[in-house]
Symmetry: C2
Subunit: 153 residues, 2 copies
Protein backbone atom coordinates (compact mmCIF):
# COMPACT_ATOMS: atom_id res chain seq x y z
CA UNK A 1 0.00 0.00 0.00
CA UNK A 2 1.57 3.33 -1.00
CA UNK A 3 2.24 5.73 1.86
CA UNK A 4 -0.03 8.40 0.41
CA UNK A 5 -3.08 6.16 -0.06
CA UNK A 6 -4.06 4.67 3.29
CA UNK A 7 -7.23 2.54 3.17
CA UNK A 8 -8.96 4.92 5.54
CA UNK A 9 -12.74 4.97 5.76
CA UNK A 10 -14.92 7.58 7.43
CA UNK A 11 -18.05 7.33 9.52
CA UNK A 12 -19.98 9.36 12.08
CA UNK A 13 -18.88 8.84 15.70
CA UNK A 14 -21.24 6.83 17.88
CA UNK A 15 -21.73 7.14 21.62
CA UNK A 16 -19.71 3.94 22.01
CA UNK A 17 -16.72 5.63 20.29
CA UNK A 18 -16.64 8.51 22.73
CA UNK A 19 -13.97 7.23 25.16
CA UNK A 20 -11.66 6.68 22.17
CA UNK A 21 -12.49 10.12 20.77
CA UNK A 22 -11.57 11.78 24.06
CA UNK A 23 -8.36 9.74 24.17
CA UNK A 24 -7.41 10.99 20.69
CA UNK A 25 -8.29 14.60 21.49
CA UNK A 26 -6.28 14.50 24.74
CA UNK A 27 -3.22 12.83 23.21
CA UNK A 28 -1.60 16.13 22.38
CA UNK A 29 0.79 18.42 24.26
CA UNK A 30 -1.32 21.53 23.65
CA UNK A 31 -4.74 20.00 24.44
CA UNK A 32 -4.01 17.43 27.16
CA UNK A 33 -4.82 19.56 30.19
CA UNK A 34 -7.86 21.30 28.80
CA UNK A 35 -9.48 18.09 27.51
CA UNK A 36 -10.00 16.51 30.95
CA UNK A 37 -10.63 12.85 31.78
CA UNK A 38 -13.47 11.14 29.92
CA UNK A 39 -16.69 11.84 31.74
CA UNK A 40 -20.15 13.35 31.84
CA UNK A 41 -19.05 16.69 30.32
CA UNK A 42 -17.82 14.92 27.18
CA UNK A 43 -21.04 12.89 26.96
CA UNK A 44 -23.09 16.10 27.18
CA UNK A 45 -20.94 17.68 24.44
CA UNK A 46 -21.38 14.61 22.25
CA UNK A 47 -25.15 14.62 22.75
CA UNK A 48 -25.28 18.31 21.80
CA UNK A 49 -23.40 17.52 18.58
CA UNK A 50 -25.85 14.68 17.83
CA UNK A 51 -28.81 17.02 18.44
CA UNK A 52 -27.43 19.72 16.13
CA UNK A 53 -28.39 19.66 12.44
CA UNK A 54 -25.22 21.63 11.63
CA UNK A 55 -22.58 19.54 13.43
CA UNK A 56 -20.94 16.23 12.61
CA UNK A 57 -18.27 14.33 14.53
CA UNK A 58 -16.41 12.24 11.96
CA UNK A 59 -14.04 9.32 12.58
CA UNK A 60 -11.26 7.97 10.38
CA UNK A 61 -11.02 4.18 10.61
CA UNK A 62 -8.05 2.06 9.51
CA UNK A 63 -7.89 -1.72 10.00
CA UNK A 64 -11.04 -1.56 12.18
CA UNK A 65 -9.38 0.93 14.52
CA UNK A 66 -10.39 4.55 15.07
CA UNK A 67 -7.26 6.47 14.07
CA UNK A 68 -8.55 10.00 13.63
CA UNK A 69 -11.34 12.41 14.46
CA UNK A 70 -12.61 15.83 13.47
CA UNK A 71 -15.68 17.94 14.03
CA UNK A 72 -17.44 19.65 11.13
CA UNK A 73 -19.77 22.60 11.72
CA UNK A 74 -21.79 24.17 8.93
CA UNK A 75 -22.23 27.89 9.55
CA UNK A 76 -24.81 29.69 7.39
CA UNK A 77 -24.14 33.37 6.77
CA UNK A 78 -24.92 36.64 5.04
CA UNK A 79 -21.31 37.75 4.53
CA UNK A 80 -19.20 36.52 1.59
CA UNK A 81 -22.31 36.74 -0.59
CA UNK A 82 -24.44 34.51 1.61
CA UNK A 83 -21.86 31.71 1.80
CA UNK A 84 -22.13 28.73 4.11
CA UNK A 85 -18.83 28.14 5.92
CA UNK A 86 -17.43 24.78 6.92
CA UNK A 87 -15.72 25.14 10.31
CA UNK A 88 -13.29 22.33 11.12
CA UNK A 89 -12.40 21.77 14.79
CA UNK A 90 -10.68 19.15 16.94
CA UNK A 91 -8.68 17.49 14.14
CA UNK A 92 -6.58 14.64 15.54
CA UNK A 93 -4.71 11.65 14.13
CA UNK A 94 -3.41 8.87 16.39
CA UNK A 95 0.23 9.76 17.17
CA UNK A 96 1.32 6.20 16.24
CA UNK A 97 -0.22 6.53 12.79
CA UNK A 98 1.09 9.93 11.71
CA UNK A 99 3.04 10.46 8.50
CA UNK A 100 0.88 8.05 6.52
CA UNK A 101 -1.49 10.54 4.89
CA UNK A 102 -4.36 9.94 7.32
CA UNK A 103 -4.61 13.64 8.22
CA UNK A 104 -4.67 14.58 4.56
CA UNK A 105 -7.37 11.99 3.82
CA UNK A 106 -9.37 13.29 6.79
CA UNK A 107 -9.20 16.89 5.54
CA UNK A 108 -10.04 15.89 1.98
CA UNK A 109 -13.07 14.10 3.36
CA UNK A 110 -14.00 17.28 5.27
CA UNK A 111 -13.81 19.34 2.07
CA UNK A 112 -15.86 16.82 0.08
CA UNK A 113 -18.49 16.80 2.82
CA UNK A 114 -18.42 20.61 2.85
CA UNK A 115 -19.07 20.77 -0.89
CA UNK A 116 -21.88 18.21 -0.55
CA UNK A 117 -23.59 20.51 1.92
CA UNK A 118 -23.01 23.61 -0.20
CA UNK A 119 -20.21 25.26 1.78
CA UNK A 120 -18.18 27.80 -0.22
CA UNK A 121 -15.37 28.15 2.30
CA UNK A 122 -13.58 25.96 4.84
CA UNK A 123 -12.02 27.60 7.87
CA UNK A 124 -10.11 26.53 10.94
CA UNK A 125 -7.70 27.86 13.49
CA UNK A 126 -4.56 26.24 14.80
CA UNK A 127 -2.68 27.13 17.98
CA UNK A 128 0.41 29.27 17.30
CA UNK A 129 2.37 26.53 19.13
CA UNK A 130 1.72 24.10 16.22
CA UNK A 131 4.03 25.14 13.32
CA UNK A 132 3.90 21.63 11.83
CA UNK A 133 0.11 21.84 11.63
CA UNK A 134 0.36 25.25 9.95
CA UNK A 135 2.67 23.82 7.29
CA UNK A 136 0.22 20.94 6.82
CA UNK A 137 -2.79 23.25 6.30
CA UNK A 138 -0.82 25.45 3.89
CA UNK A 139 0.12 22.31 1.93
CA UNK A 140 -3.61 21.61 1.53
CA UNK A 141 -4.07 25.03 -0.09
CA UNK A 142 -5.28 26.97 2.94
CA UNK A 143 -4.40 30.66 3.14
CA UNK A 144 -2.92 31.57 6.54
CA UNK A 145 -4.76 34.89 6.28
CA UNK A 146 -6.26 35.48 9.72
CA UNK A 147 -5.36 35.92 13.36
CA UNK A 148 -7.30 33.65 15.71
CA UNK A 149 -8.59 34.96 19.05
CA UNK A 150 -10.02 33.07 22.05
CA UNK A 151 -11.65 34.34 25.22
CA UNK A 152 -12.74 32.29 28.23
CA UNK A 153 -16.32 33.25 29.11
CA UNK B 1 -23.97 60.91 27.20
CA UNK B 2 -20.44 59.70 28.02
CA UNK B 3 -18.50 58.38 25.04
CA UNK B 4 -18.09 54.95 26.58
CA UNK B 5 -21.78 54.39 27.31
CA UNK B 6 -23.74 54.66 24.10
CA UNK B 7 -27.47 53.94 24.48
CA UNK B 8 -27.19 50.97 22.16
CA UNK B 9 -29.84 48.28 22.18
CA UNK B 10 -29.66 44.85 20.59
CA UNK B 11 -32.21 42.79 18.72
CA UNK B 12 -32.32 39.90 16.24
CA UNK B 13 -32.15 40.94 12.59
CA UNK B 14 -35.37 40.66 10.61
CA UNK B 15 -35.77 39.99 6.90
CA UNK B 16 -36.60 43.69 6.48
CA UNK B 17 -33.18 44.63 7.94
CA UNK B 18 -31.26 42.57 5.43
CA UNK B 19 -30.42 45.27 2.86
CA UNK B 20 -28.97 47.37 5.70
CA UNK B 21 -27.05 44.38 7.07
CA UNK B 22 -25.46 43.74 3.68
CA UNK B 23 -24.61 47.44 3.41
CA UNK B 24 -22.84 47.31 6.78
CA UNK B 25 -20.98 44.11 5.95
CA UNK B 26 -19.84 45.48 2.58
CA UNK B 27 -18.73 48.87 3.96
CA UNK B 28 -15.20 47.68 4.59
CA UNK B 29 -12.04 47.66 2.47
CA UNK B 30 -11.31 43.99 3.15
CA UNK B 31 -14.87 42.65 2.63
CA UNK B 32 -16.33 44.94 -0.07
CA UNK B 33 -15.61 42.74 -3.09
CA UNK B 34 -16.45 39.43 -1.53
CA UNK B 35 -19.77 40.60 -0.06
CA UNK B 36 -21.47 41.27 -3.42
CA UNK B 37 -24.52 43.43 -4.13
CA UNK B 38 -27.61 42.70 -2.02
CA UNK B 39 -29.55 39.91 -3.66
CA UNK B 40 -30.96 36.40 -3.56
CA UNK B 41 -27.75 34.84 -2.19
CA UNK B 42 -27.90 37.05 0.91
CA UNK B 43 -31.60 36.25 1.37
CA UNK B 44 -30.82 32.52 1.21
CA UNK B 45 -28.02 32.97 3.75
CA UNK B 46 -30.33 34.91 6.06
CA UNK B 47 -33.04 32.25 5.80
CA UNK B 48 -30.47 29.56 6.66
CA UNK B 49 -29.48 31.52 9.77
CA UNK B 50 -33.15 31.86 10.75
CA UNK B 51 -33.65 28.10 10.27
CA UNK B 52 -30.63 27.19 12.41
CA UNK B 53 -31.11 26.66 16.15
CA UNK B 54 -27.42 27.51 16.69
CA UNK B 55 -27.14 30.79 14.79
CA UNK B 56 -28.23 34.33 15.60
CA UNK B 57 -27.80 37.49 13.55
CA UNK B 58 -27.76 40.36 16.05
CA UNK B 59 -28.17 44.08 15.36
CA UNK B 60 -26.99 47.05 17.39
CA UNK B 61 -29.50 49.90 17.25
CA UNK B 62 -28.80 53.54 18.22
CA UNK B 63 -31.37 56.33 17.82
CA UNK B 64 -33.65 53.95 15.84
CA UNK B 65 -30.88 53.28 13.35
CA UNK B 66 -29.09 49.97 12.76
CA UNK B 67 -25.45 50.82 13.50
CA UNK B 68 -23.86 47.42 13.93
CA UNK B 69 -24.21 43.72 13.22
CA UNK B 70 -22.64 40.43 14.21
CA UNK B 71 -23.40 36.74 13.78
CA UNK B 72 -23.25 34.37 16.73
CA UNK B 73 -22.89 30.63 16.22
CA UNK B 74 -23.03 28.17 19.10
CA UNK B 75 -20.78 25.19 18.42
CA UNK B 76 -21.21 22.17 20.69
CA UNK B 77 -18.11 20.03 21.16
CA UNK B 78 -16.25 17.20 22.85
CA UNK B 79 -12.89 18.94 23.09
CA UNK B 80 -12.07 21.38 25.93
CA UNK B 81 -13.98 19.10 28.30
CA UNK B 82 -17.20 19.14 26.30
CA UNK B 83 -17.32 22.93 26.00
CA UNK B 84 -19.74 24.82 23.80
CA UNK B 85 -17.95 27.51 21.81
CA UNK B 86 -19.38 30.84 20.79
CA UNK B 87 -18.13 31.68 17.30
CA UNK B 88 -18.43 35.38 16.41
CA UNK B 89 -18.44 36.29 12.70
CA UNK B 90 -19.18 39.32 10.54
CA UNK B 91 -18.74 41.98 13.22
CA UNK B 92 -19.34 45.45 11.76
CA UNK B 93 -20.03 48.91 13.13
CA UNK B 94 -21.20 51.75 10.87
CA UNK B 95 -18.04 53.65 9.81
CA UNK B 96 -19.69 56.98 10.77
CA UNK B 97 -20.32 55.75 14.32
CA UNK B 98 -16.94 54.28 15.20
CA UNK B 99 -14.96 55.33 18.26
CA UNK B 100 -18.07 55.60 20.45
CA UNK B 101 -17.90 52.22 22.16
CA UNK B 102 -20.51 50.56 19.94
CA UNK B 103 -18.16 47.74 18.96
CA UNK B 104 -17.28 47.11 22.59
CA UNK B 105 -20.98 47.10 23.57
CA UNK B 106 -21.68 44.68 20.71
CA UNK B 107 -18.96 42.28 21.84
CA UNK B 108 -20.02 42.49 25.49
CA UNK B 109 -23.53 41.61 24.36
CA UNK B 110 -22.08 38.64 22.44
CA UNK B 111 -20.28 37.39 25.55
CA UNK B 112 -23.38 37.81 27.73
CA UNK B 113 -25.44 35.90 25.16
CA UNK B 114 -22.73 33.22 25.03
CA UNK B 115 -22.81 32.77 28.81
CA UNK B 116 -26.63 32.62 28.72
CA UNK B 117 -26.41 29.70 26.31
CA UNK B 118 -23.67 27.97 28.30
CA UNK B 119 -20.67 28.70 26.10
CA UNK B 120 -17.31 28.37 27.89
CA UNK B 121 -15.23 30.01 25.19
CA UNK B 122 -15.66 32.75 22.59
CA UNK B 123 -13.61 32.60 19.41
CA UNK B 124 -13.21 34.61 16.27
CA UNK B 125 -10.74 35.28 13.51
CA UNK B 126 -9.74 38.61 12.04
CA UNK B 127 -7.99 39.21 8.72
CA UNK B 128 -4.24 39.86 9.15
CA UNK B 129 -4.90 43.13 7.27
CA UNK B 130 -6.87 44.49 10.28
CA UNK B 131 -4.31 45.44 12.98
CA UNK B 132 -6.76 47.90 14.57
CA UNK B 133 -9.30 45.10 15.02
CA UNK B 134 -6.60 42.90 16.59
CA UNK B 135 -5.81 45.60 19.12
CA UNK B 136 -9.53 45.95 19.84
CA UNK B 137 -10.01 42.22 20.49
CA UNK B 138 -6.90 42.09 22.70
CA UNK B 139 -8.31 45.05 24.67
CA UNK B 140 -11.43 42.93 25.33
CA UNK B 141 -9.26 40.23 26.89
CA UNK B 142 -8.95 37.90 23.89
CA UNK B 143 -5.74 35.90 23.55
CA UNK B 144 -4.29 36.18 20.04
CA UNK B 145 -3.25 32.56 20.32
CA UNK B 146 -4.12 30.96 16.98
CA UNK B 147 -3.43 31.19 13.27
CA UNK B 148 -6.55 31.38 11.11
CA UNK B 149 -6.77 29.44 7.84
CA UNK B 150 -9.31 29.71 4.99
CA UNK B 151 -9.79 27.57 1.89
CA UNK B 152 -12.21 28.20 -0.97
CA UNK B 153 -14.14 24.98 -1.63
Amino acid sequence: MPLDEPAVTFRPALRTDLARVVELIADDDVARERTGTFGAAHVAGFEAIEASPNDELVLAVLDDEVVGVMQLTFVPGVSRNGATRLLVEAVRVDARRRGRGIGRALMEHAHARGRERGAALAQLTSDKQRPDAHRFYRSLGYAQSHEGFKLTL
